[in-house]
């Protein structure tokens, strides 16, 4: 029997309370509550589709248990930008043609956002290092790299 307990966290800037069990992953909890922009691919910390930002750092929602987010700040793709007001990284990915099937995109955006929030103008090596946990099966990475580097070189970060 799994004990059901409450956890509280800040989700995309709003305080939230959820019920969870110790075994539930953060990505499962989020998707169960309608935050379906966060994807699941491998469920083993290999693809990055489940990436969310926890206290400013990109993490795999499939490896983290939901209770580990108790009392912390969580950002999902729903909080990053909207269709009408995209995040600079979202805008740059579209401009560069760096989105094909789009499955990796929420994770890519959040990994880039976490880095740029901490270091607004990272160099190319830092970008590569910080985005080594996100796989893309479509684009060949080059356009994603160009898009993130463009944002890093600009002053467009809010």
């Amino acid at each position: 029997m799994s004990t059901v307990k409450q956890i509280s966290l800040t989700l995309n800037g709003e305080p939230k309370t959820f019920e969870t069990t110790a075994d539930e992953t953060l990505v499962d909890l989020l998707r169960r509550h309608g935050y379906r922009g966060t994807k699941t691919g491998c469920y083993e910390g290999a693809c990055g589709a489940c990436t969310v930002i926890l206290d400013g750092r990109a993490v795999y929602g499939c490896l983290l248990r939901a209770f580990q987010a108790h009392g912390r700040d969580v950002q999902t793709i729903e909080g990053a930008g909207s269709f009408d007001d995209p995040h600079p990284v979202q805008r740059a990915l579209v401009d560069e043609g760096a989105v094909q099937c789009g499955f990796c995109t929420p994770g890519m955006v959040l990994s880039a956002k976490a880095l740029l929030d901490e270091t607004p103008h990272p160099g190319s090596d830092t970008i590569k290092e910080h985005m080594d946990g996100n796989l893309c099966r479509c684009t060949g990475y080059e356009k994603i790299r160009v898009a993130v580097e463009k944002v890093a070189a600009s002053t467009a970060m809010p």
């Binding site: 799994s2 075994d23 290999a46 750092r57 993490v59 248990r65 209770f67 990994s111 080594d132």
Partner: protein, 277 residues
Amino acid sequence: MKLCDFVIPADIDEARARLRELGDAAFPTAGGVSLHFLRFAEPKTAVDLTRLGLSGISRDNGRFTIGATTPVCDLQKHVAEGWVLDRVARRFVTQQIRNISTLGGNICRVFWWSDFPVALLALDASVAVRGESETVLSAEEFLARPLKLLKPGTLVVAIDIPAVESGAGFGYGKETRVGSSFSLATAAACVVVEGNRIKQARVAAGASLSMPQLLPAVGEKLAGETADREAIEKAVATGTEGLAWKGREGMSDPYAAELSRIIIADAITDAVAEART
């Protein structure tokens, strides 16, 4: 089901009390990443260790003290003279894993691929363990049997390493099939060079051995040798004779031995180059 319940203690005394109470039914949880590799006969209660004030890096008297729950990304980003663990952290994949995994978690349950045990053995680190009292063990003593030492309620609280100062150097090598795959061979070296000679060396290896281990014979062979690649390769060849190498991911054992000797020699070469700058 692996976990049936969780508790989030606010300080170390509460955490230790809950762990003692739960005994073998507890799973002390730092990053919790190792849960991915574990199977339990009975589900356990996770006891969160990340809010006990055991994170952070400080420097005193030529040594760094690293809190047990310091995430690997903090080791990656730390900048200070004599700080070398950023080089190990960068080889720890991926960024999302570096952001959750803790140094304590990486050394309390050691897998053959674990990066930090290899580095800490070469650096002659010490590990502070809090039970009824606080005990400080050498990395060698601790890593020989971490899970046996960690009785319920006993926690690693800090890891202490020397600053690698002038005249000394550190090198870390890791070979993987692709960046994000498990290690095939790992090696770390810490050397002191005087003039053209290696005065002292501590060398450790992992991944292609059953577990990360110190290679004292390599250190002994290097001491007093000229600090050049030929002498380094010779010391590695003779100092690793008789070790039981293990090929990973379809690699043969003799290939693992050959690959490891190169990675070990590379780590020593990097350490020597740093010591000379």
